[in-house]
Each structure stands twice: as C-alpha cells, then as structure tokens.
C-alpha cells in the first residue's frame, strides 16, 4: 500500500517546519542587527569621547595657527594643508593605476601562471605593514637609490646640474614649461608622500575594483561585442559605468586609510613641525595624524587630551566630507537593472 499523505498530515509537517524556520529567522535577525550595531556602538562611544574632550577646542585658531609650545596658540594649519594635498595626489595616482590593473586582470589577462602570480602578489601586498611601504617610499621615491646625489655615476655620466644641500637634487621644468617644475629625487616632498601612500593603498583598490568588474554580468559585454565594438569600448562604455560604484567603494576605503596613516609618512620623511604653508607640491609637509600623534605624546593635558581630540574631530570631518562626495558620486552613477 502506498503511503498516502492526508491533507492534515502534510499540514502538520508544514507547520512544524515553518515555526522553527521563523524562529531561526528571528534569532538571525537579532544577531545581524547586533553585528551592525556593535560597530556603530564602538564608533559612537569613540566619537562621544572625542567630541566631549575636543569640541570646545575646535576654534578658528586651530585652523589659522601652526603648532606652538603654548596650547592656547596651537593650531594645525600646515597639517590640514598637507593632508589635503597628499590625499588629493594619492587619489590621482592610485585611481588610474589601480583601476587599470584591475581591468587588465579581469578583462585582458588569460588564466596563466603569470596572472595567478600577479593575483597572489596583490593579495600579499595588502598585508605588508604600512611602515615597510614607508621604507620603500624613502628609498625609491625620496632618495631614488641615491643616483641623483653628487658624485654618483649618473650625475658624472650625464653631467647633471645637481643642486647641493639638504633639499638638493635636479630641479628643472618639465619640457621647459615654467610652472611645471620637477624635482628629482622627490626628497621629503608631498609627491614622495603621495606616491608612498599610493603603494600602500594600491592592493585594496585593485582587489575592490576587480570584485566590482567581476560582478558585471558577461551578457552585458557580449551585447557590446555583438554590436561590433572593440574591447576597450565595451569596457569604457558598458563595464566601467556599472562597476563604478564598487570601484568607488574601494577608493573610499583606501583613501580613508591613507588619510589616517602616521608611521609610513614619518619614515619616508614627513616632518612633524612645519610652520608654513607649502608653496608647491615639492615642499616639506606634515599631515594631520602626525600632528595628532605628536600632541598625544606631549605632557600638557591641553595637548594630549583636548587638542588631540580637536585634531581628530577635524580629521573625521574631512573624512565625512570625502565620504559625502563619494556617496553622491556613487548614487549618481549607480545603474540598476
């Protein structure tokens, strides 16, 4: 005799199952909410602590003055300028290289050993301590292996007009254009700092951009090819616009990290006390986290508690602003289907 499921029996089974599944759903919901709230809770605690300590110290002096030994006169003008310029340059350098590498890896590279090696490489670079990038930046960008120093083989061979001194090196105008001056080696300048930061954040930019590009369905591409366009045209007009929000996420996360880094920039040669605004991107500089770190280690309470907190508030405001721009861009270019 075949087993016959009566209506009532199947209803029983159905009911039991559904209630336990609903219960699981409810528990899971609570856990999920908790996980989101935990991060936000920590953020709130941090922000309240910082706001309480630093709020009254976010005054015009903070933005107009340079660091002083008297807390009431101290400000972070040069740090703010330095941070903004370095982050701007970092974004400028890392976007094309990062997105370019991601496009190459996703669209052009065949699945051979070289590609696998590059993949491995990039993942590995994401874990290198930031301070190592500082050392690398110092040698490669700051000093350029010393080949532009007086007496080196290159200088002798090409008879280059090296300027001596502490900020020495080769100074010239690129292609003779007067305001496009270049300084080699990059020394302790913002260009060197930005390049160091670019190296630091490049792995995350590449990985995030790859995920975004990978997420674009192949059907979109096939449609483009079917119309007879070239590979690059498909990428430029179809793939990239769809992947743009994801790429932007990677850029935001990376730039957020870069704006908060201290150690690599100090190693690479950023200063801590810079009582002037930069005249060009080749000038000495300092950044906000270095200033904050310096204040935290000073003995007076006004510095290590209040001014440091005020500095953090300023940094977070800049970050907020950057994020705001990114959100706006993300929303504007988001393509839904």
């Amino acid at each position: 005799m075949q087993k016959q499921y009566t209506l009532s029996k199947s209803k029983e089974i159905y009911k039991d199952n559904i209630s336990s599944r609903n219960r699981a759903e409810k528990i899971f919901n609570i856990l999920l909410l908790f996980s989101v709230l935990f991060g936000l809770l920590m953020l709130t605690v941090l922000l309240i602590d910082i706001a309480v300590e630093g709020f009254s110290w976010v005054r015009p002096e903070l933005f107009e003055n340079y660091h002083s030994r008297k807390p009431e006169n101290a400000g972070m003008k040069s740090a703010i300028a330095g941070s903004l310029i370095v982050i701007g340059l970092t974004g400028l350098f890392s976007f094309p290289i990062g997105v370019g590498a991601a496009i190459y890896l996703e669209e052009y590279a065949s699945q051979n050993k070289l590609t696998a090696f590059i993949n491995l490489n990039i993942n590995n670079l994401a874990g290198v301590p930031s301070i190592v990038y500082g050392m690398l930046g110092l040698v490669v960008f700051g000093r350029m292996f010393g080949i532009f120093r007086e007496g080196s083989w290159l200088v002798e061979f090409l008879n280059l007009p090296i300027q001596s001194g502490t900020t020495g090196g080769l100074k010239f105008n690129l292609l003779g254009i007067p305001w496009l001056e270049m300084q080699i080696p990059f020394g302790r300048s913002m260009v060197a700092g930005a390049l160091t930061m670019t190296l630091l954040i490049l792995p995350v930019v590449i990985i995030a951009a790859r995920e975004a590009i990978r997420a674009v369905p192949p059907s979109i591409r096939e449609g483009g090819y079917a119309l007879g366009t070239t590979k690059w045209h498909v990428i430029k007009t179809l793939v990239l616009p769809i992947a743009f929000p994801g790429i932007l996420t990677g850029m935001i996360l990376s730039l957020s990290r870069a704006i908060g880094e201290t150690a690599p920039l100090i190693i690479m040669g950023a200063f801590t006390y810079v009582p002037f605004l930069p005249n060009s991107v080749w000038d000495q500089f300092t950044v906000i986290p270095i200033q904050i770190y310096n204040w935290i280690t000073l003995p007076q309470t006004e510095y290590r508690v209040h001014l440091a907190a005020a500095g953090i508030i300023v940094l977070l405001l800049i970050l907020f602003f950057l994020n705001g721009i990114a959100i706006y861009l993300r929303k504007k270019f988001e393509i839904k289907w």
Partner: protein, 346 residues
C-alpha cells in the same frame, strides 16, 4: 611595430627633459665643492656682530632639523620664536629619533640633528665617510625624575645605589620590602621607558656604574612604553608603582605623581627643579641634550647661522626653556656655543 614607436617616443621625452634641464638649469655648485676645511670668500660674514632686525626679516630659505623626540620641543620652541623675527625662514623639524636623525644627517639630508645622546662612534664614522663635518652644541639638561604614586609615603629618598639595585637586570628585588624591610611587603610595579629610548639608555649608564648591569630589568612586573604619558598614567593609578622619565612630564603633572629626591654625590637628597638641574646639584640623573649642526650648511645658509645665533641668544633658548620643561645648561655654555659658531664660520 607601434609598441616600438611608443617606447622610443617616451625615451625621447625623458632624454629631452634631462637635456633641457642640463642646458637651461643654472649649474649651482656649493661655494667650496670640497668640504669645509678651505677658506671661504672674504665677503662671507665672519664677524660676531648681530645682524640688524631688518636684515633678519629679509632672510629667506629653509632650515631642516630632525632627530630626537626629547630635543624636539626645544628646537621647535626656538623656531617658533625665531619665526617672529625672521618670518620668511622656513624651519621644519622632524621626529625620526636620535638614531634616525643621525642617519639622515650623515648623508647630508638635514642641517640640524637633535640628539638626546652624544653621537656614537659608528655614526661619526658614517659622517666622516660622507665628508660631513659637524659642530656639537650642548643645548639643555633634562633632569630625569624618579616617580612614585602620591599615596606612596614610605619612600623618602633614594640613592644611586638603590636605583641601580632596583632597576638593574640582575636585580632580585621584587617587593618594596626587599629594598628596605620597613617598606610594605607588596610587589613593585615598574613603569619604565622601552628598550630603545635615550632616557632608558642614560639610566642604564647610571646603573652600570654601580652594579655593572648593562641592561635594565625585564620581568612580568615591568611595563615598557615609548610614550611617557602612558608611564605617567600607570604610576598615577597604581599605589605600588615606580618609574622614571623626563622632567617635562613630571612638571606638567605634579598633582598626579610624586617625585623622589635623589641623593647626590655630595650626599644631599635633591628634588629636580630648574635650578638644581642647571647648577648641577641634581645628579647623577641630569642628562645633556645636544644639537649637531652641519658645517657646510653653516657656510652656505645665512638663515641657519642666524637661527643658531638666535638659539643661543637671550631671546632663544633661555626664553623658552622652562616653558618646555627642561633646564638650561651650566652658565657660560651658550656663550661658548656662540664662540664655536663664530669659529666655524671662518
């Protein structure tokens, strides 16, 4: 085929830039291209008279300083005051640490190296091999302060021997009562600077003279930090704590920690203060702080000469020293420094 074109185009671009630079850029060579033992043109200022204030205001150029975090507040405070009389001089100060500062100094990247210890032999050799000559200036004294929790009422004074017994590597002291049977039988919690700081190095020298220990203790009751504020917090919050660090941190937190008078060579127990450190009665824990200035920069950068001169004038170091929590070196040091400067200008 196209690939070759692009590569050659890039090459042309790079080479043309370099060639343009070679042709158009003015060949700037330093006054004596070989270091610094030769005579400079007689027009270079070698007279010891001070420059007029309008000339100071007209001075421009940069001054690059780097090095110790201990000397940092002094150099930046002087730079801050100097900026008021010479606003166009751009003085930047870095924080690479004494060792890192010398590393940059000895390849010619900085004009001034802040140092919380004298230059070491191997560092001087590097400077020599790169033809960097320098002048050493004593700029301040830091009275290392030994600290205990305010509730600690049993320690009245300590001698250098006792310090060495407490802090040396071979120390067997764990509880306060091990040091003196009248003290409480509680574990001592040590808060000391971490193994790579100049403050600790100096204490190690003091300890070594007594016990021969070359290192300080490193056990589970010892907390290290490179941030003196953290050590301060530790000592302020633990009743049985003990530690030492720079005077500047003590003087700004007098309500939270208690300083221990140290028995000096004459046998008197002395607390650190501006006067006792300067006149030498607070010993042996007064450590000297230096700046090293590159000889060739003195000859090439008039703004640097004026900066150093300002440093050792009444408006420079002396005016800011107590603000930053350090003590002036023995009287006459700054005058001697000015003479050193005048001599190096010749």
């Amino acid at each position: 085929m196209f690939r070759k074109n692009i590569v050659s185009l890039l090459l042309v671009l790079v080479i043309s830039s370099l060639v343009l630079a070679a042709c158009s850029g003015s060949k700037v060579t330093p006054a004596p291209s070989q270091p610094e033992t030769t005579q400079v043109e007689p027009t270079k200022a070698s007279e010891p008279e001070p420059v007029s204030s309008s000339a100071l205001a007209a001075l421009a150029g940069d001054v690059i300083a780097d090095g110790s975090s201990t000397v940092f507040p002094i150099t930046t405070a002087v730079a801050e005051e100097f900026a008021m009389v010479a606003p166009n001089v751009r003085a930047s100060v870095g924080l690479s640490g004494t060792g890192g500062g010398f590393k940059k100094f000895c390849i010619g990247e900085t004009d001034i190296s802040n140092a919380s210890r004298p230059i070491k032999g191997e560092e001087a050799e590097v400077c020599q091999s790169n033809n960097i000559e320098y002048v050493e200036f004593l700029v301040a004294l830091d009275g290392l302060t030994v600290m205990i929790n305010p509730e600690n009422d049993w320690v009245k004074e300590l001698s250098a021997d006792q310090l060495a017994a407490l802090l040396g590597d071979s120390s067997t002291i764990k509880k306060w009562s091990d040091l003196d049977p009248n003290y409480p039988a509680e574990d001592i919690l040590f808060f000391i600077p971490d193994p790579d700081s100049g403050t600790r190095d100096y204490m190690e020298e003091v300890v070594e003279k007594v016990t021969g220990d070359k290192d300080l203790r490193q056990d589970e009751n010892t907390t290290f930090s490179s941030d003196d504020n953290v050590l301060l917090d530790g000592i302020a919050n633990e009743k049985y704590a003990f530690g030492f660090f720079g005077y500047a941190y003590y003087i700004n937190n007098k309500d939270n920690v208690k300083a221990v008078p140290i028995v000096n060579k004459a046998g008197n127990a002395v607390l650190p203060s501006d006067e006792t450190v300067q006149n030498g009665t607070y010993n042996p824990l007064s450590r000297p702080l230096f700046i090293y200035v590159k000889q060739s920069s003195i000859l090439e950068k008039p703004q640097l000469v004026e900066f150093i001169r300002f440093f050792f004038s009444a408006d420079g170091g002396p005016a800011i020293m107590s603000d930053v929590g350090y003590s002036m070196p023995p009287t006459g040091t700054y005058e001697a420094n000015l003479e050193l400067l005048a001599n190096s200008l010749k």
